[in-house]
Each structure stands twice: as structure tokens, then as C-alpha cells.
């Protein structure tokens, strides 16, 4: 589902050149639940950004759902992100000026053949029901707890039914109870067929996934299968 080949990412300023990722080769199969761990600054988020087509590599190729995206332009990348990928961020990244329902609708606004307003509402409500937040649809993010915000973010990530969900420290800002709730939802999504890649600092959370990749100083230093339950391509 996601294939990274010889990926390098270099950040350059006028005087400094920083190698953020060094020769990463990683294949995430469809239906897999993979976690990425490593110390701060090791390149986890950079790797996540490359997988999510939010950034481009300095070298190497990124393949999403069988499509090599090296030559893709902004519009094509945007469409691929919209159709194939859902994002969950540590700090939720909800738009505070929009209601919960409007936030969840966002990916559908940019879908090719843009579903009509009423259909968007139905899909957004269904996504909120999946995460147990159907009673908070007209609330605004500022009126929700951290756990509720993250559930809204999950609903937004899955509303367009993407094949891949990328979660960047989804439980990082939550207490352990809330964190476990979110993890349960992610596991359920994976059971329902989504491929999930999760960056985490929490060993216990990582242990709940199928596979754990470890990064150190921009390089992949470990790749272990934790539970052999993944759906193989």
C-alpha cells in the first residue's frame, strides 16, 4: 500500500545541510497496522510527511496504492491524498471556527465529483457515529475535551473512506484512559480494513500494532513483526 525506496530527505539552509532521513526502504502492506518509534528529532514526522505526500523526498521514490508519485503535480498529489489518505495529528488540528460536523466534512469538500451537501452531511454523521460523537455534531472544537477532539479528528480522517490512515502521535496529548480509547478506535478501523501507520513515543501503544519500525538519527534501525495478524496484499 505504501512503498518507500531509497528515501533521503535533506533540509538545506544557506549554511547548514541536515540529513533528516537516510536511505529508508519500507513497504507497508494493505491492512497492516504499523507503528514508528524513535527519539525526538530522529525523522519520524518527516517520514510520516513523506508517506502522507505532505512533503517530497530529496532522493528516492514514494509509491502509494501502486502509483509512483515522483512526477505528480500539486493537483494530482492533492487528489491522491484526498482519496487514499486520512490524517490524525497529535494536536488534533481542527478548525476552531467550524462546528464538529463542518470539520468532519472537510475532506469531502475536495473530493472529485464533490458529493452534494446533504450526502456530505450524512457521511460526516456516520463517521461521527463510528467514533461515538454523534451527540456533539453542532459543538465547536473549543467546547470539547482532548479525547473528544481526537475522536473528531479520527472521524475527519475516515469520512472519505481512505485506504490509509496516518496518525502522528494520536495519543500524545491525551491521558492513558483517553489514549486507550483512541487506540481501540484505531484498532477497530484496522480490523475494518484500513492500513494504519502510527508514530508514537509510547511503547505500550506500539505493542498493540502489528509491526514496529524503529528510527534513529534518520536511519531505520529496527523492523519487527509484533503480531502476525495483518492482511497481506
Amino acid at each position: 500500500m505504501i512503498k518507500l525506496t531509497n528515501i533521503e530527505k535533506v533540509y538545506r539552509t544557506s549554511s547548514i545541510e541536515t540529513l533528516a532521513l537516510n536511505t529508508i526502504n519500507l513497504h507497508v502492506a494493505a491492512g497492516e497496522f504499523l507503528s514508528i518509534m524513535g527519539p525526538s528529532g530522529c525523522g519520524k514526522s518527516t517520514l510520516m510527511n513523506l508517506m502522507g505526500l505532505l512533503d517530497t523526498p530529496s532522493n528516492g521514490t514514494v509509491e502509494i496504492a501502486g502509483r509512483v508519485v515522483t512526477q505528480y503535480r500539486d493537483k494530482e498529489l492533492a487528489q491522491l491524498r484526498n482519496q487514499q489518505i486520512g490524517f490524525i495529528f497529535q494536536s488534533f488540528h481542527l478548525i476552531n471556527d467550524l462546528s464538529v460536523l463542518d470539520n468532519v466534512e472537510i475532506p469531502l469538500l475536495y473530493r472529485k465529483g464533490d458529493p452534494a451537501g446533504a450526502s456530505r452531511r450524512v457521511l460526516a454523521k456516520e463517521a461521527l457515529e463510528k467514533v461515538g460523537l454523534s451527540n456533539r455534531m453542532s459543538h465547536f472544537p473549543g467546547q470539547l475535551s482532548g479525547g473528544q477532539k481526537q475522536r473528531v479528528a479520527i472521524a475527519r480522517a475516515i469520512v472519505g473512506n481512505p485506504a490509509i490512515v496516518l496518525a502522528d502521535e494520536p495519543t500524545g496529548n491525551l491521558d492513558s484512559v483517553m489514549g486507550n480509547e483512541i487506540m481501540n478506535i484505531l484498532q477497530q478501523l484496522n480490523t475494518d480494513g484500513s492500513t494504519i501507520v502510527m508514530v508514537t513515543h509510547d511503547e505500550a501503544m506500539a505493542r498493540k500494532t502489528h509491526r514496529l519500525v524503529r528510527l534513529f538519527d534518520g536511519s531505520m534501525v529496527g523492523d519487527s513483526v509484533l503480531r502476525n495478524e495483518r492482511v497481506v496484499e
Binding site: 500539486d74 487528489q79 490524517f87 488540528h93 471556527d97 467550524l98 469538500l109
Partner: protein, 415 residues
């Protein structure tokens, strides 16, 4: 999608009331000035009372006689006879009127002097113009042929000379420059900004001091030709030009010989612009320079100001931009979002400006600065204002939107 954009735009407006006030104040003030200016231009150039047929009228105002060899020139209005021979006899128009421009005169009520603007006209003047007669009727060809000492006056002069009241003044005498005339009609006045129709007193051209019998080519008269329909204007112009080409040259006037004659039948606006634009001097450059400068001051500076405010506002929303991009918004889609938001905000400013313009126009009309001023927000003024709103919103939204589009998603999400 647009509802979503507008919701966001509204929330952004509500988020920083001071910013919003500055933005809307700038937009509405600029648009108010533009709308009042547009309304004033419409008042000057549009077909309004009593010149409602201006769109199918041609104006012959100034003749130029030239002698390139001696660099001699004589220019000004024409004689009554010249216009009778060369304009009244045209075949293509519906009709033509011959009248003077505006002259001045005096009348007295007791010892109080009333300064008058006067005009000598033929009977067709009342058919080419569309005056409302409050009292009486216009003079006719018969009055003119008889040499009757009759006049049409405007309501302002009626009030000053005869006093306010419902009593008819038709048939009453009025003494102007020691000559006694009989009032035959009273019209609702025309503003001085419409010099072809404006006057306090209208005399038949056969009354004293009209100089209609001058024999030369030049004199005190101008002409307005009324085409049957707007589409006939080129044909009327062509026939008139053909007539001019037939005039034998050179022309002798006050002892000087002129080898060229320039006289055109022009539409209302061109009639004033042509003398400036036709000359091969720096005047044209200066005119366009002034127009460009005024437009820049009115539209450019507030746009630049709004661009700056919008840039800081948009950068404040970097996180939102990152989110939208991450979930599939292309740069083009986002640029449109910000332009639509900006146009929405500009339209709010436009609505405020429309109300302000209404007040300003009402104030100008009531102030008496321009007698008989009838500035309005009519359809053309409204449509031009709408267009300006769109342009203003578009211009001030494009630059911030393009700037925003350069943000990388990863950086935007970190903001």
C-alpha cells in the same frame, strides 16, 4: 463548498473586531467615494431630465476655422443661418434644434436684482428636450414667426419673480433688460451641469438680442440633432460630414481666409472629450495621467492596504491552510477560497458603502450646491459599483492567496 468558505469568512471577521472595523472602514469608504463619483459621472453624462434623449442625440458645439499656412485659427459657435442651412436640412435625423449656449442677463423685483441665465431657442428645442411643464406650454413656430415677446421660465425664477403660490403665472408680464415679455410656460428647472438645457429663461430666437440674423459663418448658436434611433447615429454623422465636405473653401471671415473647416456632430461625451483628445499635444497624456492617478489613489492605495491586512490575516490561518491541503485541497482551490472570502467581505463593505452613498447623495441633492441636482443610485451606478466591489475583492484577495499557496503543508501544520 461556498457556504463553508463564507462561514469561515464570517468567523474570521468576528474573530478580530478591530481588524474587521479597519478593513470594512477602508473598503466602504473607498467604495462610497467611487459610488458617489460614479453617480456624479452618471449625473453629468447619463440621459437625465430634461436631456433624456441624450443617447440618440448629436451635438454640434464648436466650429474651428484654420489657415495652416499663416497658422491662423478662429473657433467658436456658429451662426443661426449656417446651422439652418446645414443642419436643419439633414434628411436622416428625426429633427434638430438650434439654440444658444448659456447667456447672462438681469431682471429686477423692486430693487432686488435677479441674475439670469438665458437661452435663445427655436420651437424644436422643446421637442428635442424633455422638459416638464408645470404651467403653460412651450412657444411654437407661430410665436416665433410672429416675433411674439414670450418666454418660458423655470420654477426657481417663477418663485423669485412672482413669489411662491399656486396661482398660474401664464400670461403675466416679466421685464428682462428693460424689455417686457409675457410668460407662456413654466418648466421644472434643469441643473447647470447640463449646459445644453440649463437656463432660467428661454426666449424664442426672434426676440431682441438673439443676433440670429448674423450673416457670417460664425455666431452664437449651437445645434442638437436628434436621431430617430440610437443605431442611426453613424448615418446622421455621415450625412452631416458629407454636408461639411461640400462647403466651398477657403472661407472668408472678418477679412481672414481659412482653408480648413472642422466641425463635427458628436455624442455628448465625445463632444467634450474630442477637443482634448484630437489635438496632438501633451494634453492627452496629461488627461490620461490624471485619470490613472485618481484611479490609483481611489482604488490602488486602499487595495494595497487591504492586501497587507489580508496577508497578515491569512498567515494567521496557516494551520487551517495546512489542514485543508492535507485533506486534499489543491493550491488552486485554496486560492479561490481566499478570493471568494475576500469578495464576500468586500460585498459587506459594498452594502455599507451603498447605504453611505445613499446618505451622501441625498445630502448633495438637498444641499443646494447644485441647483436641481438629481444624483441617484440607478441601475448603471449600482452595476458599476458591483463590478468595482468584485474587482476590489479580487485584487486584494489574489496576492495574499498566492502568498499563502507557497506555504509547505508540513510548515503550515507546525504554525
Amino acid at each position: 463548498m461556498i457556504t463553508n468558505y463564507i462561514k469561515i469568512a464570517w468567523k474570521v471577521l468576528m474573530r478580530h473586531p478591530v481588524y474587521t472595523f479597519i478593513t470594512l472602514f477602508g473598503i466602504s469608504l473607498t467604495l462610497t467615494v467611487l459610488m458617489v463619483l460614479t453617480s456624479f459621472l452618471d449625473h453629468l453624462l447619463g440621459p437625465h431630465y430634461p436631456e433624456t434623449k441624450r443617447d440618440r442625440s448629436l451635438y454640434i458645439m464648436q466650429m474651428a476655422l484654420r489657415d495652416p499656412a499663416k497658422q491662423g485659427q478662429s473657433s467658436g459657435p456658429m451662426s443661426f443661418r449656417f446651422l439652418t442651412d446645414n443642419v436643419k436640412s439633414l434628411k436622416t435625423p428625426e429633427r434638430a434644434t438650434i439654440c444658444t449656449f448659456v447667456n447672462s442677463s438681469n431682471a429686477y423685483v423692486g430693487s432686488q436684482k435677479i441674475k439670469l441665465n438665458t437661452k435663445f431657442t427655436d420651437a424644436d428645442f422643446w421637442r428635442v428636450m424633455d422638459f416638464t411643464f408645470i404651467d403653460g406650454k412651450p412657444y411654437t413656430e407661430q410665436n416665433i414667426a410672429n416675433g411674439d415677446y414670450v418666454v418660458v421660465i423655470n420654477d426657481d425664477l417663477r418663485n423669485q419673480y412672482f413669489g411662491r403660490g399656486d396661482e398660474s403665472v401664464v400670461g403675466k408680464p416679466i421685464e428682462i433688460e428693460n424689455i417686457r415679455y409675457r410668460v407662456i410656460g413654466v418648466v421644472k428647472g434643469s441643473p447647470f451641469t447640463r449646459p445644453f438645457s440649463y437656463a432660467d429663461v428661454y426666449f424664442p430666437y426672434t426676440t431682441p438680442k438673439s443676433n440670429y440674423q448674423e450673416s457670417g459663418i460664425r455666431g452664437n448658436y449651437i445645434s442638437i440633432i436628434l436621431a430617430k434611433k440610437r443605431a442611426d447615429i453613424p448615418a446622421v454623422q455621415a450625412e452631416f460630414q458629407q454636408r461639411m465636405d461640400q462647403i466651398p473653401l477657403p472661407i472668408t471671415y472678418y477679412g481672414a481666409k481659412y482653408t480648413t473647416l472642422e466641425l463635427n456632430a458628436e455624442t455628448y461625451t465625445n463632444n467634450f472629450l474630442r477637443p482634448v483628445l484630437a489635438r496632438n499635444t501633451g494634453l492627452r497624456t496629461i488627461l490620461f495621467g490624471i485619470i490613472a492617478f485618481v484611479l490609483f489613489m481611489l482604488l490602488g492605495l486602499p487595495t494595497i492596504n487591504l492586501v497587507n491586512v489580508n496577508v497578515s490575516r491569512i498567515m494567521e490561518r496557516a494551520s487551517e491552510i495546512g489542514i485543508r491541503k492535507a485533506f486534499g485541497a489543491s493550491v488552486k482551490t485554496l486560492v479561490w477560497q481566499f478570493i471568494i472570502e475576500n469578495i464576500f467581505i468586500t460585498f459587506i463593505g459594498g452594502v455599507i458603502a451603498l447605504v453611505l452613498t445613499g446618505f451622501v447623495i441625498h445630502f448633495i441633492n438637498q444641499s443646494g450646491w447644485i441647483a436641481y441636482a438629481d444624483l441617484t443610485i440607478n441601475l448603471s451606478v449600482f452595476l458599476i459599483s458591483l463590478l468595482v466591489c468584485l474587482l476590489f475583492g479580487f485584487l486584494s484577495g489574489v496576492v495574499p492567496a498566492l502568498r499563502m499557496s507557497k506555504l509547505s503543508i508540513a510548515d503550515a501544520l507546525k504554525a
